[in-house]
């Protein structure tokens, strides 16, 4: 089931070094890329059907084409490497194992969108990753792949690594821009969208590390080769991070469109012996949970997830077996989103803290049925009333647990003691 499109060099020792990476094909597409017109590259990316790998799944080529034509301002690329969604651990592999794939992708993207400056916004906790990445960028400068003359061409490109300070919300693209600009990471109201008014008021494209990392393959092998993987509407491959209560958790590259249960069983080794499946979080903690029944028919692509009223998200699959206390899981979830709320909008700032306290109250055994109903209503009251979707990330997922596992909340209310048998 596993494929190697993005991960071809992941297992090669020292592939983060430029000589090793070059021996295995890094920067080989640049000749072809510079022979093309920028518009042609955008068309190739559009034709490949590559969708944003940060979670929203917006078509990458289409995003690029939103840049205003005939602009007299500089265009920026911001690479979103603030991988902070719980259960998501895919970009870190690219950053450490094959940073030159990312740099090559950045060169391709910047050439296509006519940008001469790219920022890689990397989460502050990624200390090893930032060291490896910066070393690779230094190598690329020394080897002439970055700087005043990229690969000997009359094309200038500078790449700057910007370290975050540990805020989840800075993964939101406009908060990320605020953070790069040196301000508190708080999302901006949209419109204007970053493609029109982004970094320093200039048109800016923000792409996920994996989206950018997919570009060298697409340009080298053509859109059809990329579309050979995956489904018609969700083409390509994805780095899936499978975690939770499985025998072989880890990062696996898979084509899109595979049945989720088959992947859990065959790729991740299945559940621990004697355990049964209780639920699956399909794409990072913010995506609504799937029950085992729903999981039967879910495949790992954007359409199937949407049909099951959840989201593909970031490909961070969390497998939950019968030992998991869903109420405590929700507490953990809300704790995270509450802690990471930027505090700008009233509903998110005040509401998530309230939700957390209500869940804690239920867990203490002091809750009532009215508290469960209030929690459900608060999800509706908070969701989509804010500048960004951080609050929705919390409420959408919380609501799914409340709807699908309400009996566990009720057990707490009724028993005033843990609903689960002692593990």
């Amino acid at each position: 089931m596993q494929v190697q499109v993005l991960s071809t060099r992941f297992d090669i020792p020292d592939a983060n070094k430029i000589e090793v990476a070059k021996q295995h094909g890094a920067y080989a597409t640049l000749d072809k890329v510079f022979a093309m017109q920028p518009e042609e590259i955008i068309e190739v990316v559009k034709a490949s059907g590559l969708r944003g790998r940060g979670g929203a799944g917006f078509p990458t080529g289409l995003k690029w084409s939103f840049l205003p034509k005939n602009i007299d301002k500089p265009v920026y690329l911001a690479v979103n490497s603030d991988e902070s969604e719980p259960a998501t651990f895919k970009d870190r592999y690219i950053l450490v194992r094959d940073p030159h794939m990312l740099i090559e992708g950045i060169i391709i993207c910047c050439y296509a969108i006519k940008s001469h400056a790219a920022y890689i916004y990397i989460r502050g906790e990624y200390t090893t990753q930032v060291k490896v990445l910066q070393a690779a960028i230094d190598e690329a400068y020394a080897a002439g792949y970055l700087g005043d003359s990229v690969a000997g061409r009359d094309y200038k490109l500078d790449v700057t690594v910007h370290r975050g300070a540990g805020a989840y919300v800075c993964g939101e693209e406009t908060a990320l821009l605020e953070s790069i600009e040196g301000r508190k990471g708080q999302p901006r109201s949209k419109p204007p969208f970053p493609a029109v008014e982004g970094l320093y008021g200039c048109p800016t494209i923000i792409n996920n590390v994996q989206s950018i990392g997919s570009l060298p393959f697409i340009l080298a092998n053509g859109p059809e080769a990329y579309k050979a993987f995956g489904t018609e509407k969700s083409p390509g491959t994805h780095l899936f991070g499978i975690s939770g209560l499985v025998k072989k958790p880890g990062m696996y590259e898979l084509p899109l469109g595979l049945p989720i249960l088959e992947v859990i069983e065959k790729v991740a080794g299945g559940l621990r012996d004697g355990r049964s499946l209780k639920g699956v979080i399909p794409g990072g903690s913010s995506t609504p949970v799937l029950t085992p029944e729903e999981a039967q028919t879910v495949t790992l692509d954007y359409e199937s997830m949407a049909a099951h009223k959840t989201m593909f998200g970031s490909g961070g699959i969390v497998v939950l077996d019968d030992t998991v206390d869903m109420v405590k899981l929700v507490e953990n979830l809300i704790y995270f989103y509450h802690h990471e709320s930027c505090g700008q909008c009233t509903p998110c700032r005040e509401g998530l803290g309230w939700m957390l306290k209500i869940v804690k109250k239920i867990i203490r055994g002091e809750g009532t049925t009215a508290d469960i109903d209030l929690l459900t209503e608060l999800c509706d009251n908070i969701e989509m009333k804010t500048v960004c979707v951080l609050s929705a990330a919390c409420t959408m997922s919380t609501r799914s647990y409340l709807n699908k596992f309400r009996h566990e909340f009720e057990a707490y209310v009724a028993g005033g003691a843990p609903a689960q048998a002692a593990m």
Binding site: A167, S189, H339, S341, T346, N381, K385, V387
Partner: protein
């Protein structure tokens, strides 16, 4: 006039000014969109989410009104159940961690949270868990006291220090419900407009140390006035109250919107000049250092004038135009030179190019209109062989040093007709109290040549006589304000086209030429 666009609010067609956001444009025709963070002078931030409105057929269907410009044909939903529910929900979330200490909160009565709760919420609390506890009565400097628990984090105060004063003392620290408005350690508010954050705060989070716990806002009469603290003439509200068995006292000045003068703001020094209206007032007439009756004092001055070889009349640059005219007529009648010498009212280099001016008098521009000389040379020439100075509200001790004053008083007698117990009163042979600016009405011309009108705001239990009447009792021709205006109309060319009885609320600009056109 700005262009108009037609749009629909709750299905009703309204015509509004184009280029504005929904809150301002629709607000101008009397339809309120609730909002906490938006302020016309500070722009839209979009954080309170109270102004979310529905746009029929719009993408997206739900928008913050503060960030949405009006557009032709736009269909705005304000009374849809969906929108009412959002307003209710946002209010609930604003209030869950709010202390609801209205009974001891200065803002009560003029608080957006109170008003909006009554209008848009009205639900009982569903909060059954402990609220977030935050810091109270924090000293932010410049007389600003902050209560973090009452704060709704609208960031108006933060934006004020960033956009208006550009001093940036305030910020919001921390995220989520740990977010707090705060100063940087050891760096309190340090600007001359800091108290504006108290007015800007839509709730009771920012309070004025000076005003705290003095009065409930609903007891205050909010009279319109003009600040006399400098030549800018900022428009103000004079908030005053006559408590039972007590006198009419002013508790605070607050800025009043006038786009032509001060916008929404005023300086802290001007704000504190209300104290001059309450305290340190001359209340009892004095003759030769002893208390006297009003009539005795008037009689003493009349006698002094009739016996004097040469009388000099001195008028204040803060007097109203009408008062100046009356004094000018008196000076002519008794054949005395008139001077407005008041160098002490000038504080060179104190102005900041925003609201604060060097000239701490309110109406020096009228000297030019009326042809009153305020030069030191003119004053010295006038007092040269004089033996009597009649000073109308002019505190000569501000302009003359101690020795100069002593030298002057060696040869002349000083008659101080004044409202305040200033440096001249003790040295004056006769001191006669008159009404202060908040107790009188008149017209003043500010430093930009804008003619403004103020009316009587405060009526004391024992009102002091107004200055024009005193001038009349001393032999002046002008009996009252109306006569003064009629006289001004004919005497001052610049005012001939101005209806002095009908000055618009925002004032009327006298063109540069008119100001320069000095009356003969």
């Amino acid at each position: 006039m700005a262009e108009k666009v037609k749009l629909f609010v709750n299905g009703q067609e309204v015509e509004v000014e184009s280029g504005k956001n929904l809150i301002d444009a629709i607000g101008a025709v009397g339809i309120e969109i609730p909002h906490l963070c938006y302020h016309p002078a500070l722009g839209a931030d979009g954080n309170c989410r109270m102004c979310l409105v529905g746009i029929e057929d719009g993408r997206p269907p739900l928008v913050p009104a503060c960030k949405t410009r009006v557009a032709e044909g736009m269909k705005v939903q304000l009374d849809a159940d969906k929108i009412k529910k959002i307003q209710r929900d946002i209010m609930e979330l604003e209030l869950i961690n709010h202390p609801i200490d209205c009974p001891i909160c200065d803002q009560a009565g003029e608080c957006k949270l109170q008003d909006y709760y009554m209008k848009y919420d009205g639900q009982p609390s569903r909060m059954t868990v402990k609220p977030v506890l935050k810091a109270k009565k924090m000293d932010f400097g410049c007389g600003v006291v902050h209560d973090q628990e009452r704060c709704v984090l609208c960031a108006r105060c933060v934006r004020f220090t960033r956009l208006i004063t550009k001093t940036g003392e305030l910020g919001i620290v921390n995220r989520t419900d740990y977010a707090r408005v705060n100063i940087f350690p050891g760096r309190p508010l340090n600007n001359r407009y800091a108290l504006n954050v108290v007015d800007l705060c839509p709730v009771g989070a920012m309070t004025s140390r000076d005003f705290r716990f003095k009065q409930r806002s609903w007891f205050l009469t909010k009279s319109k006035g003009i600040c006399h603290g400098c030549s800018k003439g900022c428009n103000i509200f004079i908030d005053h109250n006559r408590e039972k068995y007590k006198d009419d006292i002013i508790y605070r000045f607050r800025p009043r919107l006038n786009a032509k003068v001060n916008g929404y703001f005023m300086c802290d020094e001007g704000r504190m000049t209300y104290k001059l209206e309450n305290d340190n007032r001359l209340t009892t007439p004095q003759v030769g250092g002893r208390d006297a009756s009003f009539n005795e004092a008037v009689e003493a001055i009349r006698r002094a004038v009739s016996q004097a070889k040469k009388t000099v009349v001195l008028v204040s640059p803060s007097a109203s135009m009408e008062q100046m005219f009356a004094v000018q007529q008196l000076a002519a009648a008794i054949d005395a030179p008139l001077t407005g010498y008041s160098d002490g009212y000038l504080k060179q280099g104190d102005g900041d190019g925003f609201l604060i001016q060097d000239d701490k008098s309110a109406n020096r521009s009228s000297f030019a209109l009326l042809g009153i000389d305020d030069s030191k040379a003119g004053f010295e020439a006038a007092v040269n062989d004089a033996d009597l100075v009649l000073s109308f509200q002019n505190d000569l001790s501000r302009s003359l040093g101690e020795t100069e004053m002593a030298q002057l008083l060696a040869t002349v007698k000083l008659m101080a007709i004044t409202s305040s117990l200033n440096g001249c009163v003790a040295k004056a042979a006769v001191a006669l109290p008159v009404a202060s600016s908040s107790e009188d009405s008149g017209s003043i011309v500010n430093c930009d040549g804008l003619l403004q009108r103020y009316a009587v705001a405060v009526v004391k239990n024992q009102p002091a006589c107004d200055l024009i009447h005193v001038v009349h009792l001393l032999g002046g021709e002008v009996k009252n304000v109306q006569e003064a205006r009629a006289g001004l109309q004919t005497a001052v060319a610049a005012l001939q086209d101005v209806d002095l009885e009908q000055i618009p609320a925002e004032g009327i600009a006298l063109t540069v030429n008119e100001v320069a056109h000095v009356a003969a």
